[in-house]
Each structure stands twice: as C-alpha cells, then as structure tokens.
Subunit: 417 residues, 2 copies
Amino acid sequence: MSAIRALAERSAAAARVLAAVDTARKNAALAAIADAIVADRDAILAANAADVADAARDGARAALVDRLMLDTARIDAMADAVRAIATLPDPVGATEWSPARGDGLAVGRMRVPLGVIAMIYEARPNVTADAAALCLKSGNAAILRGGREAFRSNQAIAASIARALDASGLPRDAVALVPTTEREAMNELLALDDLIDVVVPRGGEALIRFVAETSRIPVIRHYKGVCHLFVEREADAAMALALVVDGKTSRPAVCNALETLLVDAPLAPTFLPKLAKALSARGVELRGCTRSLEHLPDAVAATDADWDTEYLDLVLSVRVVDGLDAALAHIARHGTRHTEVIVTANAAQAARFEREVDASLVAWNASSRFNDGGSLGLGAELGISTTKLHAYGPMGLEALTTRKFVLRGQGQVRHRM
Amino acid sequence: MSAIRALAERSAAAARVLAAVDTARKNAALAAIADAIVADRDAILAANAADVADAARDGARAALVDRLMLDTARIDAMADAVRAIATLPDPVGATEWSPARGDGLAVGRMRVPLGVIAMIYEARPNVTADAAALCLKSGNAAILRGGREAFRSNQAIAASIARALDASGLPRDAVALVPTTEREAMNELLALDDLIDVVVPRGGEALIRFVAETSRIPVIRHYKGVCHLFVEREADAAMALALVVDGKTSRPAVCNALETLLVDAPLAPTFLPKLAKALSARGVELRGCTRSLEHLPDAVAATDADWDTEYLDLVLSVRVVDGLDAALAHIARHGTRHTEVIVTANAAQAARFEREVDASLVAWNASSRFNDGGSLGLGAELGISTTKLHAYGPMGLEALTTRKFVLRGQGQVRHRM
C-alpha cells in the first residue's frame, strides 16, 4: 500500500472515532490545540522564517511572502480563531423527527459528520489551524495539503496540533498533514474516493481548476467572484454610491469585492459623473461600455473580456443596461454565482432580483462584502462554495456535516406475510 | 456548437424561467402532463410494443423485458405518480431568516432549484415521467437520457410531456430527452459542467460507475446496497426473525433488501436454527461463516467475497460476531452506506449503533425495506444517494434544491470610510 493510501486509511479510522466524540471533549481538544500553538510559538516562527527566507531567495512576489509570513500577532490570532471555533454550537447528533407515522415507526434525520475532508491550499499557514479546528469541531478527520512555500510552517503547526490531540486522548490521525508537496502525492490523494468524502481546494483559480479536473472525490469550490452591483432606476443614488465604494475599495483583492457595475439607463446621466468623482478620488480605474462612456469622459473603453474578469484590483467595469431584465441577462451570462447586489427602493423589483439571480448570496441594498461566514452568522468558514450541491455560499460547521435517516420501531415490517 | 451543447443551453435557459414560476402554474403543468400521458396511451403503447419486440428479438433477459414493458395499468400508474407529485409541498422560495443583526441587516437562506438536472437511466420508461415531474415541481430543467431499449417508449412519453408544457405556457425545453443513445453523446453531455448542475445515474452498477468516472459534473449516486441486520444479544428473537424475513424475501431484487445477517455470539445457538427453518421454507440459500455453520448444518460456507456481494436474490450471508463493536467493525468494512439495522431491546446499544454506523438509513427494530422516499415521508424520490454530500438517502423534492443566502439592508457597508 502506498504511503498516501495508508495515511488516508488512518484518517478514515480516526473519522469513525471522532464521529462519536462528545462536544465537551472536542472543545477541550480545541483549547489544547490553541494552547499548544501559543506554547510552540518560537518553533513555529523559526520554521516560518526558514520558509520565508526560501521564498525570498526564490524571488516570490511580495503578496505571497505577506500571505506566508507569521509573526507573534498572527500566531496569537491563529490560536484565538481555534478558541472561537470551540465556542460555536456543535451541529453533530441533532435529530429532527418527522410527524409520527400511523404504525408507530419514528422517522428522523440525524446530523452526522461527513467523514474525511481533504483540504488543498496554498501559502497561508493559518489555514492549517483553521481547517483542522473546523473539521475537528464538526467530527471530521482532516487531511491537509498546504503549499510548498509553507511546508515547514505547516509541519510546525501540525506538530503542535498532534501533541494537543495526544494530550486530549483523541486520535492523532484526526488531523494529518500530507508529508510531501510533490504533485504525484496530490494526484494519488485525489483518487482515493473510497476513503475521502470531500475535497475543498482553496487558493488561486489554477489550483482549484486542477483539483476539480483531477479529483475522483466530490469537490466543493469556487473559481472566482465576478460580483455585480445593479443600480436600478429607483435607487437612492447616495446609497448606491456608498455601496459601490465599499464593494470596490474596502478590500479589492478578495472574492466578494465588486468587479462590474450595472446602471439602469435612466439614472446613467446623473449617477455616472458622481461615480467617476468618488472612485477617481480613491484611485479606481473605470472601464466603460459605449453608453457609459458618454458620461464617463475619463474612463477606458471596456472590451468583451472585461465582463468576465475578476480584477482583484482597483478596476471596475461599468455597463448601462435597460432595466431589470437586461441586468438579469447580463448577470446570468457573466456572473460566477458568487455575490450579486441590487440597489433599489422598489420592493417588487428587488424581489424579482432575489428570486431570479442564481448566486450564493443575493443582496438588496447592502454591500457585496458581507458574503463571508462571519458576517452571515456562521461564526467561521472553511471557504465559500459556488458549487450549488451540498453547500452554496460560505461553509460553516453545518456544511461539514450531512444528515442520515434514523428509524426507531417496534419490529415494523414492510410487507406482512 | 454541437447538438448536445445546444440542447443543454436551451435547458439552462428554461431553468432560469422555471426558477421563477409559481407553484400553481407548476401544478397545472403536472396535471396537464398526467392528462396527456393518459390521452396518448395508444401511441405510447405502440412505441413500447416496438421496443419490446426489438428487445425480445435481441434476446434480452426476461427481467429486462419486464422492466421495459408498459400496459394500460402501468401507464395509468405513471400518470397517477405525476399527479401525486403535484400534491406535494413546493420547496422553492421558502426563506429561513436568521436572528436579526444589530445593524438591521436581515440575513436569510432561500430555497432555490439546482438548475439543470441530467438523469441517466436504463430500461424503465416510467422514469421518464417520474424524473420530469420531480424536476419540474422543484423548478429544475431536466435532461433525460434513457436506455437504448426504451428509446421509442421514452420518445412517446416525452412527446406527451412536451405537448402538455406547450399547453401550460411553460418552456418546452424544461424537459429534454437526449435524441440519441450513442455513447459519444452521453460523454459529451457529462462534460458540460458549465451548463448542467448535477447528474443522477440510476440503474446497474456498471452504468453508475461509468457515469461517476466520466462526469465532470457533480454526480449523486449509489452503487449498491449491501445491507446488514445485526441481531444483538438482547434482541427479541421473534422480532428479529420477522425483520430478516421481510428484509430478505419481501422483494429480494431491490437495493434495500438484506444481504448479510450478523448474529451476536450468545444468541447464535438458539437463533440460527430458527432462522434456517424460516428461510429454507421461503427458498433462501444461506452462506455462513465457520462459527455460524455449527448451527446451520445445511448452509454453504461463505467465502470472503460473500461479505461484499449484493445478491439481489434469495441468498443471505450469515456471520457470528462478538458483540456490538465487532458488528460495527464488520459494517464499517463491508457496508455500502445504504441501510443498516440493529435489533435489540437495549437502548444504549441501539444509540451507539445509530450514532456510529455511517449509512443513509440506520434502523432500530425496523425493516431495512423502509428505506425509500415513500416510506420516509418524502412523497416520491428521484433515487437514493449514498454519496454523503448534498443528499444522503432517498432524494425527494428538497434534495433537488439548494439554499442561497439573501441579504436585505438599508445601505449597510462593511467598512465605514
């Protein structure tokens, strides 16, 4: 048996144990993990310094080095995130009973862990602790495969987690770090559909596409967020402007940032000049359709490719549309099922937008930036799904579980003979 | 563009329309479909007779011909099943609101259709009507690819459905039958992950494995049901016997039939002779482990392969185990996540079995044969899932939907600037 298969078999065995562990023991283990991370801070920082030095030597971009680098504050934040997960309600074991059947047979649905969750990610070492804690709290075993750049940092964090699991009497195999970053090992992992229940890739679009196309295991993922805001003709212009500024500029590099603005034609002559003023003051480049350029003298002409581009930067494409139906058609064609916003005072138009737009979050008069687990009340998230199956949107603890049917009878049979 | 891709694009466009159609119009369309099927009975029977004649000419097995063949009663039953789906509650549009946030932003989760569902199935023509009706009621467009043997029957049924959709003012593309049964067309269909949201294969294990391994689209499936019943030492022996008889003999060819009996060692000497008597009277062949053979003189010795075999026939494998832990270990190793039963008067042992067995249905003192949508209160089912993601167990209307987040605000932004 290969080393990767052996690892996954140990994970599957640990998952069977974890499924039956009660909430108090899981929370105690999470507290122990947080304590171990803080206690091992120097070792983690030393491992991380070696990773950072290698990345710098290899000419890594500054943004990657920033994602990779840990310091005391980031390590404390990592431990705090683990402690916060301990305070969340445990979804496992809750059973919802259906109305009683006439024959006394009770039918329920019990929330249970998924089993083994494989997480494939890139340079951020804090994902190691976050993913381990979310999986543990929801009763799942985690197989973690982080990026090459963060390998030593991840090993150090995983060592702290392993020590805490041992001390808590939970199986050490509940959290496994893949001991190599070779591509071959990942390919092998992604073929183990008899042992691993779900794969969650997190990182750039190239990584996610690779995982989605290679995996034999179900994948929950999102490729990118080309998020739109539609300023409907009955919008409050000041509100719309504030929502665009927040959506585009508060953190442009994240997936719930705005990329395209759709403006209802009657509002274009008055709204677009205000938009240009507000956004140019914040260094945003505008790329406009032909009709919008009439009111945006300094904007660049948008090309067809702009409508499908996730800029992740201070760039916004702008299109004038004729009413709600045209906005819906644009979003159906260019949206990525991530986050879509309508600004309007007309409740009927908003209701149609809410119902008809296919996206993990549809917002009326609110910023696209609210699409994350914390803002939506999930407490924490493993990632955001734009796959519609199983989980759609930020994935909290509940998305890491499923429901099985339970029957309690007194000997009921289907056919009397 | 290929014909298959063009078909799927029309389905995706129809899905966008269907997502916004209200319950009354969907129910009216379902009534029209049922009426059309009855009105077109002669045409459907003629098409089916041609299919049956070809199958007989090609030497098809009797079981296949039976699944394929329609008669007046079966056509009426098909129409009745469509009418029954019209009476079920519509899951689409229901929104569950979270507790209010301090800033007045309302967060809800709205149940929405999946979009486009592709159904791949074999010889039963009634699946064409069933799947179309379930998808339509849940607001999804259906792409149906039935078996070669039933091609003309399916075309006739699809023609009735199309006529009813036209008359109801719903898009005809809401239900599309793939106009060819060539393998190449199916391969092409299974690659359209930008247009189709989920694939549900239904049929033999070979078909399902082919679909699961070929598809780029998420697949919900079950391969087989190797279902166990564990007679724990505190079981009521008469109840256990009745549940084994029901599970094994009431309909042996279905996936929720029992295949393996696990008997707790202290009960073996008294229970197994009664079992042999009851099952031999019903023509069941027993295949026993070494320890069980001591009490089953007429049984065949089981081989290792028996523990993983879905007989779908009057054959039962029998194994003596030492208590609950040994039963759980056997099921973890050989179970197929379908249906698992414990018979016991000991509530603590039953609770452990319920919690620790990983299967779509876990039953305590009730027959495995209850694992279907009708028995569990779903009204109807598209199939049974042993994939743990999204749906686990029989898939009713709710399993054909997902939930998106909805936000309703008054201009809330994430970061005040």
